[in-house]
Subunit: 301 residues, 2 copies
Amino acid sequence: MSLLVVGSVAFDSVETPIDKIDKALGGSATFCSVASSYFADDVKMVGVVGDDFGDENIQMLKNHKVDISGLEIVEGEKTFSYGCVYRDDMNIRDTLFTDLNVFEKFDPVIPEEMKKSPFLLLGNIMPALQLKVLDQMTDLKFSVCDTMNLWIDITRDDLLKVIKRVSLLVINDSEAKMLANEDNLIKAAKKVMEMGSEYLIIKKGEHGALLFGEGKIFSAPAYPLETVFDPTGAGDSFAGGFTGYLTKADKIDFGTMKKAVIYGSALASFCVEKFSTKGIENKTKDEIENRFNEFIALSRV
Amino acid sequence: MSLLVVGSVAFDSVETPIDKIDKALGGSATFCSVASSYFADDVKMVGVVGDDFGDENIQMLKNHKVDISGLEIVEGEKTFSYGCVYRDDMNIRDTLFTDLNVFEKFDPVIPEEMKKSPFLLLGNIMPALQLKVLDQMTDLKFSVCDTMNLWIDITRDDLLKVIKRVSLLVINDSEAKMLANEDNLIKAAKKVMEMGSEYLIIKKGEHGALLFGEGKIFSAPAYPLETVFDPTGAGDSFAGGFTGYLTKADKIDFGTMKKAVIYGSALASFCVEKFSTKGIENKTKDEIENRFNEFIALSRV
């Protein structure tokens, strides 16, 4: 089964209370693609970069067997660049700069052979672009949409259109409350479900994640990390691991989705251990299975 | 097996965003005793009240087979009274008044026959009083201590002495971070464990609870409540349910404690559904087992 990932590809400059890094590989499509590559055999990525993107980044994606024939490289333009500083309680980050560069004109044209992909992961980008992608897909079986507070705030109508059309929405707890205008998380989840998607995942960072659907709720624990080195990309890695596992399983039911949530959580827990995509690169099957089993053991009674 | 509960007995005046109540039964010993009575056959409560305590409150405790021969009723004095208002996001409450009344002179003298109790639950009261209780116990097998941010702040040294002497400390996440002076919860937990108690439970409210001990971690989910009617006493109900189950099981190991955490969580989830002790009064065995099973189903993969 093939999985199409569409999203941003970026250079991130990140400063945490522990260390800092400049112009490191980032972007929602990047983290999503690498994370899903551990499960789905055929991951195709659509995005845009400038001519400064760098061969080592191309090579890393190829090493993870990500099909980058849909990654447009625009000559004479620069790759989207983002800079931020995390505060001491790493849940808060302050944006230093957002240079959209080539990403400003990003028009996701899906290559003909990718339009038939049954699985789709819409990484966090402007909802209008996510809608354009949905318009082009011909044989969708399951679609996942990630988003962020900015889009809830400034392009709510477009986001609501996306939510109506995807199978599963993944957002964090504060975003769910914001989207539903409701303080109680469970009530907020119900309201968001009424907006249209069949399934909903609410990420709670250091408190794990909740999966809603089929009238059921699943509560996944968080991995007990003593050091969060860099939270950037954790949500994308979660979405990638989750959707990648579903693609591989090719089964859409609550039981399979529970396992997918744990695999997504495992990838997110690897992600935050290092800067950029380093935490999720070159993982072995054993490392992933061991972490999956650690998650299972955490909440087994 | 018998369980001795020592703590405060109070009248609570509580205002929530939904409703308010005046002079309702409260106090750590009250919630702890009622919650533990569903498991332990022999719950003994030590505390102090004024002559305004009221027969209906005595009767409620008797109905739950709580031995109140250690509850001192002081003629001419008034019962400890506490008033607070919860904000919209019910995690924050503002204290309106604290009238210690008879509780100001509380000197917990444990009746002779109760000193041999193998299980002890020290409800949230001043650590110096918890130490006095510990000094009187002769045959302790397992002791649990609950506390709060106030004592970490103003009587830290006494609290550290208590922690050294009890088997298990139960605190919430912000208190753990405050006690350890550490932002990362897992690191904070490790630091708190080094202070002396063999086991540690960190309550995370709407995010569940974590149990630490024997080099292991257990993550319990939270019950997905759409309405938290009144959070007062939830932590005490948790501690009561937890310690009550351990007393009944009369087994001190991590596996038994996991179940105890779920039973504690079940009692806490009942508690917040109504004002005062109403949520945990007159529960049937079936209601408790059903909620326990709902908790198990929430995190089962």
